[in-house]
Every structure is written in structure tokens, then in C-alpha cells.
Symmetry: C2
Subunit: 242 residues, 2 copies
């Protein structure tokens, strides 16, 4: 079973202060690119895998989704999510993505933001999601990019000329990586891009779009600190079709 | 128009001494993985984009291909390729992949080994290849991996603990990279993985397999120097279907 760092009080307190936690989707710089991969929401039955505070679940309903199921492993997350809406068409449930079961052919869209890199058995999860979608339905997800997760000691370095580099090692050594992000000893799963795409293909998905997120010119102008995101991708965004 | 480094005498002399030039396919460690992406060859009409010395063209015929067209921009390469066979079903022609025209629906397989990263306008080439294939036909290619092509100064470094790392920068800055490989001032094109896959999808290809090549256990046992290839991928291997 995977670590559930979101139920660690220190991690949760720090996570709750991130822009994406305070401002919701508008605080996540990759959201406009992820949104562009989504289908027209009207009438869709949506499942959100790792819904956190429920920002996307509410957005989906505001944009016409017929019903939304938000799943998360963290009781604290779900408590905040439930407190954030009185909409009866949004339902929240506790679920571990690593051991998830879903009804067959039940959803028109599966969405997941930055949750898959916590799941040790992604292959099992993708099989479950494929079965839970109707033919033609989409899976749209973001995850930490393998260039970001690969290193033993992830972090920036300076080359001989003082320029920023992101040293990679261990790209081909898939498995857990323990980092100190918001708390000590956070465990994420490193998987190559090929492994992730081939798992989707093997389960019957068709790859529709693969995006290694980069800030737009407008985002760079508004937040010059984002420039380092052009040196190496931090987020992987994928759209696949059942 | 792209640089044609293979017509540089010094480069060509050095290239001719590489294991893959002397031993052919058996001298290319990624060949078994690339071969695994190929369809059964019997009866196929094949085009090889950047055929070099013609090793693959001859292999394709030996494995049952009906006819093979080998294209290359280098007269030296083509001369060696032509000298290597008397098979009338193998034809060689001079062509610049950046300005290629091919007849429509003429081939059952398009193959390319380590040539696409020299092509500035890959998008145009992929459109040409898509039109030249019959429905259901495959495009199988290898290219230098974007993790390998991204850095301004590609090369290994040692971290604070003396361990090998591959510092990345400029991943999102697509375009030419000038390196000194076999000769000074060799120009290759850096494109993100997302850009390459999305171009395939946009032209109507279905992605069948994406492999970020790593040595097998047997290859590592036979050639321990290959271990560094586990730290970061050097080659990208893709199978797509029209």
C-alpha cells in the first residue's frame, strides 16, 4: 500500500498554503493547458481521481457536468471538499487509487490532477479506469514528469558557466523516490514516459495528446520565476480516449 | 536546408569506424528493441528514411520484404549502400528528408534509424510519410531522445557524491543544437517528446509504442560500459500506425 502523506498533519498544513490550495484551479499554472485537453463538459458523468479539496469537481459542475464523483484517500481533503459545496450532483468518497474499484462503463470522463505519481500500481489503476469509461470517453490527467521524478536528489544545479541545470540520473530505475517536499520522506513513484504511455495503450486507450507543460509567454511575463520551468518539464499532461 | 554532416570527410571517416557502421545492425545496441517494433516483413513494400550504408534495407529483403527503397542525402553513404548489394528489389535514391516527396499510398512500412533529429521540418516529413503509407501501415523510427538533445552542453557530470548525472537545460527551447560529435559543429534538432508524438497524432498516426531505450540485463553483462545508459535515455524508439 502506498504512503498517504496527505494525512500527515505537517504536510497537510503546508499543502493547504500552496497557491493551488488557496486559489484553486487559478493557482495552478498548468491548469489552462490541462483544461484545453478536456472535452465539452455538458451532461458528462465525471470521476475525479485524487480530488483533493474538490476544486475540479465544482468546476466540472459549473461547466455543465451531469454528475461528479470525487475520490480521495485523505479524510482531511474530503472534509474540506464536502464543506465546499451543497450540490447534490457532486459526491465525494474515500478511495485509495492503488486499490480502486469502479463500476463498469459508468463515466464519460476520468480526470486526475497530480495524483498518479503517488500510485505504486498504476497499471492496475489504468485497467480499472478503462473499464469504468464508456467507449469514446476520455481520460485526462497530469502527473509529475519523469524528468522531474527521476533523480535520486532532485534539484537545480549550476554548470561551469553558472547556468541553471537539472541533473538527471536513474531515469531507467523505476520505483519509489523519497523526497522532502512540504514534509520529510514523501514517497513518489518514478515511471518513464514510455512506461506510462505504453500502459495506456496496452489497456486499450488511444493517446490523443502528450504535453510536457511549459509556461506560456503571458505566464512568464506575469511571473518571471516560472522561467526555470523552461529548462526542464515538471508536469506531464496526457489526454487519452477509451 | 539542414546541414549534411555526412558529406563532411572527417565526420564520414569517423562515422565509418563506429561499431554500427562496421558491424551493421548487430553493432547497434538499440536494434533488438527497434526490431521488436517491426511488423512481419514478408511481402512488405518498405521505405528506409536515412538508409546510410543500407544495412536495414538488406535485412528487410533477407526477411521477406517485397521491395525496399533506401533514401539518403549522402552520396558517400549511397555509394557504399549500392556496392553492398546486387538485389534488384533494393533501390537507393538521393533525397533530403527535409524536402522529401513520396508517391501516395505506396508503402507498407516506413523505417528510420537515427535520422529524424537532423530534420528541421519534421512536421512536413511526417505528413509526407503518412500520405505515402497505406492504411494500417507502420512507421517505426528511432531518434536521439530529447533528454539527450536538450542541453546546451550535453555531457556527463558528477554530483557532490561523485555519482554520474546528466544535467539538462533548455528542454523547452526547441530548435538546433550544435555539438562536437565525430566532427566539430554537428547540428541536430531538439524537439520535446510531446512535440514529436503530437505531430504524429495530428497527421493521423496512432501511437502504438513509445520506448526510451535502455540496455537489457544481458547487454549490461556483456558490455558494462552501457550502464550509464540507465541514468538517462539516449534513444527514443516509436511505433505508429497509419
Amino acid at each position: 500500500m502506498s504512503q498517504n502523506i496527505y494525512d500527515d498533519a505537517g504536510f497537510f498544513a503546508n499543502y493547504s498554503r500552496l497557491p493551488r490550495s488557496v486559489e484553486g484551479l487559478a493557482g495552478a499554472p498548468e491548469w489552462p493547458a490541462l483544461r484545453a485537453l478536456l472535452p465539452e463538459m455538458t451532461g458528462l458523468r465525471v470521476v475525479d481521481l485524487g480530488c483533493g479539496f474538490g476544486w475540479f469537481c465544482r468546476w466540472a459542475r459549473e461547466n455543465g457536468a451531469a454528475e461528479v464523483l470525487g475520490l480521495d484517500r485523505s479524510d482531511d481533503m474530503l472534509g474540506r471538499a464536502r464543506a465546499g459545496t451543497a450540490d447534490a450532483a457532486i459526491r465525494y468518497a474515500r478511495a485509495d487509487l492503488g486499490q480502486l474499484d469502479l463500476p463498469s462503463a459508468r463515466f464519460d470522463l476520468a480526470y486526475s490532477s497530480l495524483a498518479f505519481h503517488y500510485v505504486a500500481d498504476l497499471d492496475r489503476l489504468l485497467g480499472t479506469v478503462h473499464r469504468a469509461l464508456v467507449p469514446g470517453a476520455r481520460l485526462v490527467f497530469s502527473a509529475e514528469h519523469p524528468i522531474y521524478t527521476a533523480p535520486r536528489r532532485p534539484g537545480w544545479s549550476r554548470d561551469g558557466e553558472g547556468r541553471l541545470t537539472w541533473p538527471i540520473d536513474g531515469y531507467q530505475r523505476e520505483g519509489p523516490r523519497t523526497t522532502d517536499w512540504l514534509a520529510e520522506g514523501v514517497v513518489k513513484q518514478h515511471r518513464t514516459l514510455g512506461t506510462q504511455l505504453n500502459a495506456l495503450i496496452r489497456h486499450g486507450f488511444t493517446i490523443r495528446h502528450v504535453e510536457e507543460w511549459r509556461p506560456t509567454a503571458a505566464q512568464l511575463a506575469a511571473a518571471p520565476d516560472l522561467a526555470e520551468e523552461c529548462e526542464r518539464p515538471m508536469f506531464l499532461l496526457v489526454a487519452a480516449e477509451r
